[in-house]
């Protein structure tokens, strides 16, 4: 049986777990938070887990022989196991970073550091130079674009990109010319943070592997919202952020195939990531420690594990069904307003929960301001995807995005507030 959206009773129970949802904004208006794609709110269970760590176990993990350090280390590594299992991985296959941006940079730097002779890995698959190519897409968040622009600059490799269609899907018609023996790495997003487009990962991955390219998947907008299994997808690397999936700020995850992580040279260096150190040089700890320099983010890992448990208990298939229902409701409402242009594929049956749109004759910042005045929080601007906006001929858009705690009533509140926009700016008459 297909998964169903949450019922009103279930929704109410879920919302009761999120203390922030009871606060008001802008002169006592209830908060209608439709910006979960930027960052999600945190349930009490996550906050409690983090607080309990600080109150009971706080210690520098993987250092010290005292009891707190031992318990802290256990909590940190147990969190790693929970988070790894959440994406179908083994604990030693995931590396904790500060966020997904840092996770992608870690992989990008593996290329330039290998090329420059950095230590910690043999890294032959990670050599880049003139004649080699890095392939991205025009749909990428800046976090999966700029690290690759810079690695090309550092190594002399060439950056190429898959363009997008007017519908906001990847234009794969020229992929055979773009993805060739010269391509060393193909980095793309699983779900667009702007359009909600769900990219055909398995097909792209298979084509990349036929030419020997490594695949890096930006999963920031998929892992929090739908069931993801790294082995099922078959990619080589996958990155996501904790704070977008009901977890704490300050923690991200890089998953990599273990033999690749083993081959990669070190990125950030310092304490915790070493095996031996002399004044002349150092040898490094095995994966994942060799990529986790400095005192580990233990409380954040514990909080993120609690978020994984929370999402697992809700059921990711139901979270996805719920957010899809909300996106459909919003899309239907927007389509019935002829003065609104929705970006993205109107015919997509499967999509993520981000919906971006433009109001005729009104800048997104002004739309956002009017919505905010009604207590409706959305994102406005280019959402860290400036090239995509340029390709879709939108200077800036308004984006609504959802999480498990979002409700149909919140979609309706957005639509009601939106109807005041043409009146305020004297553009089209609202229906």
């Amino acid at each position: 049986m297909a998964a169903t959206p949450f019922t009103a009773e279930e929704s109410a129970r879920i919302r009761a777990d999120f203390p922030i949802l009871t606060r008001t904004v802008r002169d006592g208006r209830p908060l209608v938070y439709l910006d979960s794609g930027a960052t999600s709110h945190k349930p009490r269970q996550v906050l409690d887990a983090e607080r309990a760590f600080y109150e009971r176990t706080n210690a520098a993990v993987h250092r010290g022989a005292h009891q707190l350090s031992e318990e802290g280390t256990d909590a940190y590594e147990a969190a790693r196991a929970t988070i790894a299992a959440f994406i179908g991985a083994a604990p030693e296959e995931i590396v904790f970073t500060r966020n997904a941006t840092e996770a992608i940079n870690l992989v990008a730097y593996a290329f330039s550091n290998s090329t420059a002779g950095g230590g910690g890995g043999r890294g032959e698959r990670f050599l880049l130079g003139p004649g080699d190519e890095v392939l991205v897409t025009e749909m990428e968040h800046h976090a999966n674009l700029i690290p690759w622009q810079e690695v090309c600059r550092r190594t002399g490799a060439t950056l190429r990109w898959v363009p997008t269609t007017a519908q906001g899907t990847l234009d794969l018609s020229g992929l055979d010319d773009l993805l060739t023996e010269r391509t060393k790495v193909f980095a793309f997003t699983h779900v667009s943070n702007v359009l909600g487009t769900l990219n055909p990962v398995r097909d792209l991955m298979a084509r990349a592997h036929r030419v020997g390219a490594l695949v890096v998947l930006d999963a920031c907008q998929s892992v929090p919202h739908l069931p993801v299994d790294v082995h099922d997808l078959g990619v080589d690397f996958l990155a996501f952020s904790g704070h977008k999936m009901l977890g704490p700020l300050g923690i991200g995850v890089l998953w990599g195939r273990p033999e690749l992580l083993d081959e990669m040279p070190v990125f950030l260096t310092g304490g915790s990531m070493i095996a031996t150190v002399t004044m002349e040089g150092a040898t490094y700890a095995p994966v994942p420690q060799k990529f986790e320099a400095g005192v580990p983010v233990a409380a954040q890992a514990v909080g993120l594990a609690a978020a994984c448990d929370y999402l697992t208990a809700l059921g990711l298939d139901r979270v996805h069904a719920h957010e899809s229902m909300l996106a459909s409701r919003l899309l239907a409402g927007l389509r019935s307003r002829p003065w609104v242009r929705v970006l993205g594929d109107p015919d997509a049956t499967e999509r993520g929960g981000a919906v971006a749109f433009v109001v005729d004759g009104v800048h997104a910042h002004d739309v956002g301001q009017v919505l905010d005045n009604a207590g409706v929080a959305v994102r406005v601007g280019h959402h860290c995807a400036w090239p995509l906006h340029r390709a879709l001929q939108a200077q800036a858009t308004t984006r609504a995005s959802f999480a498990a705690y979002s409700t149909p009533a919140e979609v309706d509140a957005l639509l009601a507030a939106l109807d005041t926009v043409p009146q305020i700016f004297g553009t089209h008459g609202a229906a």
Partner: protein, 149 residues
């Protein structure tokens, strides 16, 4: 909403002195990286009364929200034909008002209709929008220093 006064909406729909014109001594391009708003602004300075440099023309091409377009339009209306020294005082006054978090209602003698933007200072995320044209003018005036008039 106090933010969108009639005068602001009017300026945003029909920006005063919009378009890029010749001659000019300085041209600058400024962007607001959070939303992608852009402005290209040119200034033409000439010797005015008592040899004081004067802003003979301010011309611009701006794409942005109503606040940023209106603010630039007000700038062009209020400062075209004034002395460069006056323009600098007006810019400083505008900046003080916009960063006052609602405390400074603005000096109408210096910024004229610019006082209609006082409400923006209560919305920190919008201050950059309102300042975009004024920062561009600051930059352009800086470039005209030392230009023979």
């Amino acid at each position: 909403m106090d933010l969108y006064q009639e005068i602001i909406l009017e300026h945003s729909k029909r920006p005063v002195r919009a378009g890029l014109r010749e001659p000019y001594e300085a041209q600058v391009h400024h962007v607001n990286p959070t939303c992608g708003d852009e402005i290209t602004l040119r200034v033409h300075v000439k010797a005015g009364g008592a040899g004081e440099p004067e802003l003979a023309d301010i011309s611009y091409d701006a794409a942005g929200c109503s606040i940023s377009v209106a603010s630039t339009s007000i700038l062009a209306e209020e400062l075209t034909g004034t002395s460069v020294a006056h323009a600098r005082r007006a810019i400083a006054s505008m900046r003080t008002m916009l960063t006052s978090k609602g405390d400074d209602p603005g000096d109408e003698d210096l910024i004229g209709d610019g006082v209609a933007l006082a409400g923006v200072s209560k919305y920190p995320a919008r201050v950059k929008c309102a300042l975009l044209g004024w920062m561009a003018l600051t930059d352009a005036l800086h470039q005209t220093e030392g230009v023979r008039l």
